[in-house]
């Protein structure tokens, strides 16, 4: 228990976000898009548990529906990031020195490109949407994953056990699948959960800037952006989406650390 505290709390936090997303499919207290000027900026009460925003929309309903956007974004970004990053990382490490180095420079260029800038370009071409945000974030974060993966693979490629595996005639594919992937697995999980956390923050940022999820679709970043204008009149409206983002991001980070610990046999207690 003590050992897997990170995993435990990470799972609870991420599970909570996932549960709210599922719940929102079945039920929300109000229609999240329903505008009701009579109750503009209402304080939390029994009829509106978390209050209402400036247009009188129920904050709880928006938060619930917004978690869908957030989690789907995180999920898609992780898939894109890991697929691109890990493939690029492993293949640049395996390529002959010169080709590998050229590929690394290409990755460095992507790394130097801010995700926001990339998203602006994509949004300018295809119009802002959750989808363009996902692509922009996914590609931008994959460069970092590729660098880390490449570094780890290079270390393992030079380790004695890979030389030993080659000495007993293991093929390249086998070495990648049996020796390299299992040994970078822990770091991959940490990177994937990190990417999920980054994706949530980046999606919020992009939506806040109007480059991601377009109104009126609810998103935590957009809720934060719109509540900012009324921060002095009613600061509590900004609290809820901010809190939701913090909990989910922290949850993903804890989940990654917990997975890393539970996957490492030297950190396990009992002899299995």
């Amino acid at each position: 228990m003590n050992q897997n505290r990170n995993l435990f709390f990470g799972l609870i936090m991420v599970g909570f976000s996932a549960a709210t997303a599922l719940l929102s499919v079945l039920w929300t207290p109000y229609d999240p898009l329903e505008i009701n000027p009579d109750v503009s900026l209402a304080k939390p009460s029994w009829s509106h548990l978390l209050g209402t925003d400036v247009l009188g929309r129920d904050v709880l309903s928006n938060l619930l529906v917004g978690s869908r956007t957030t989690l789907i974004t995180a999920f898609l970004v992780v898939i894109i990031t890991m697929a691109l990053g890990v493939t690029a990382g492993i293949s640049t490490a395996l390529l002959p020195k010169r080709v590998g180095r050229a590929a690394i420079y290409a990755i460095d260029i992507v790394l130097a490109l801010p995700a926001v800038l990339f998203a602006i370009v994509l949004a300018a071409i295809y119009g802002p949407s959750t989808f363009t945000a996902v692509i922009a974030i996914g590609v931008a974060t994959s460069a970092a994953v590729a660098q880390v993966t490449r570094r780890e693979v290079t270390v393992i490629l030079n380790s004695d056990y890979v030389v030993a595996a080659r000495a007993c005639n293991s093929s390249k594919t086998r070495i990648v699948l049996r020796h390299i992937l299992p040994n970078i697995r822990a770091s991959l999980f940490v990177q994937a959960s990190g990417a999920a956390a980054i994706a949530i923050l980046a999606e919020s940022t992009l939506s806040y800037l109007g480059l991601g999820t377009t109104p009126p679709a609810p998103s935590w970043g957009r809720m934060l952006a719109s509540s900012q204008q009324y921060l002095i009149i009613d600061p509590i409206v900004a609290l809820w989406p901010g809190l939701a983002i913090i909990v989910t991001v922290l949850g993903f980070n804890l989940l990654g650390d917990g997975l890393r610990e539970s996957l490492d046999p030297t950190l396990r207690k009992s002899r299995s």
Binding site: P96, Y161, A164, C168, N169, S170, P265
Partner: protein
């Protein structure tokens, strides 16, 4: 015909020559030692024979195993030899094992690479191999991870991997350097027994003359890439020819003498 013939082998990294014009040959079942200080090119000889020299190395000369020239073979053709005809035990028993793979799987890796075996056959063979290298409680050990074993046990696992396919030539690269003296002795005994039992040819690489002297019949003395002397073990001890050989023989004797004086003092 000789089983292994190394002829004028030269290995270079850029301008730096790490092995210079080395020649030796072995008949099947022969036991050959290579001794020299670290950096004298010993490990490179082993890697050259097994075809795993780093890409940055350039080499010339010839290595013939069972009549087949190894240095000109491509990676694909060489793979038929690796593990099955030639295999190797590495110096560091911890780093030579994959930390995330149970040792049983690692032991049968060369077997699975060369012949198709079912999971059950593999397990049975792994247990058998563990027993033959003297690992305690083989049924349990095959399920352990490397970090759960002691240094000596890990090196025995390395040995089990190396002999899994019954190689004709076993190269051991300082197999006992990382082990303490008592464990060292036991591991050496196990190597000795296995080699005799299967009449495997042995190349024993070491920097420790007393250790290597118990294991081999002939020996090559290496100094900064050059083979300065090749002689039978007894000839080397009786009449070392080269300055460097004299020095290491004298040092080995001196240590031996000091140890004897010390023990006689202690017992009297």
């Amino acid at each position: 015909m000789k089983f292994l013939e190394v002829n004028k082998l030269t290995i270079k990294f850029g301008d730096k020559t790490v092995v210079n014009n080395l020649s030796f040959d072995l008949a099947a079942g022969d036991r050959f030692g290579v001794i020299g200080e670290s950096g004298s090119g010993k490990t490179m000889i082993a890697l050259a024979i097994i075809g795993l020299l780093p890409d940055s190395a350039s080499f010339s000369g010839s290595i013939r195993l069972d009549g087949e020239e190894l240095l000109s073979l491509g990676d694909k053709q060489m793979s038929a030899f690796r593990g099955s005809k030639v295999s190797m035990v590495f110096q560091e028993p911890l780093t030579a094992l994959n930390p995330l793979m149970r040792v049983g799987k690692q032991i049968t890796q060369p077997l699975r690479n060369h012949n198709r075996l079912s999971a059950r056959e593999c397990l049975a063979r792994a247990i058998e191999l563990c027993a033959s290298v003297g690992l305690p409680d083989p049924e349990q050990t095959v399920r352990a991870y490397p970090h759960q074993l002691s240094g000596g046990q890990r090196q025995r696992v390395g040995l089990a991997i190396a002999i899994a396919c019954n190689p004709k030539l076993l190269i051991v690269d300082e197999p006992t350097t990382a082990l303490d003296v008592t464990v060292q002795r036991e591991v050496l005994q196990t190597i000795n027994e296995l080699v005799k039992q299967h009449s495997t040819a042995l190349i024993f690489i070491s920097h420790d003359l007393p250790v290597v002297s118990t294991m081999v019949e002939t020996i090559a003395v290496m100094q900064s890439g050059n083979c300065v002397e090749q002689a039978s073990m007894s000839a080397l001890f009786d009449q070392p020819q080269h300055e460097y050989s004299k020095r290491i023989v004298d040092l080995a004797r001196a240590t031996q003498n000091r140890f004897t004086t010390f023990t006689t003092k202690a017992t009297s």
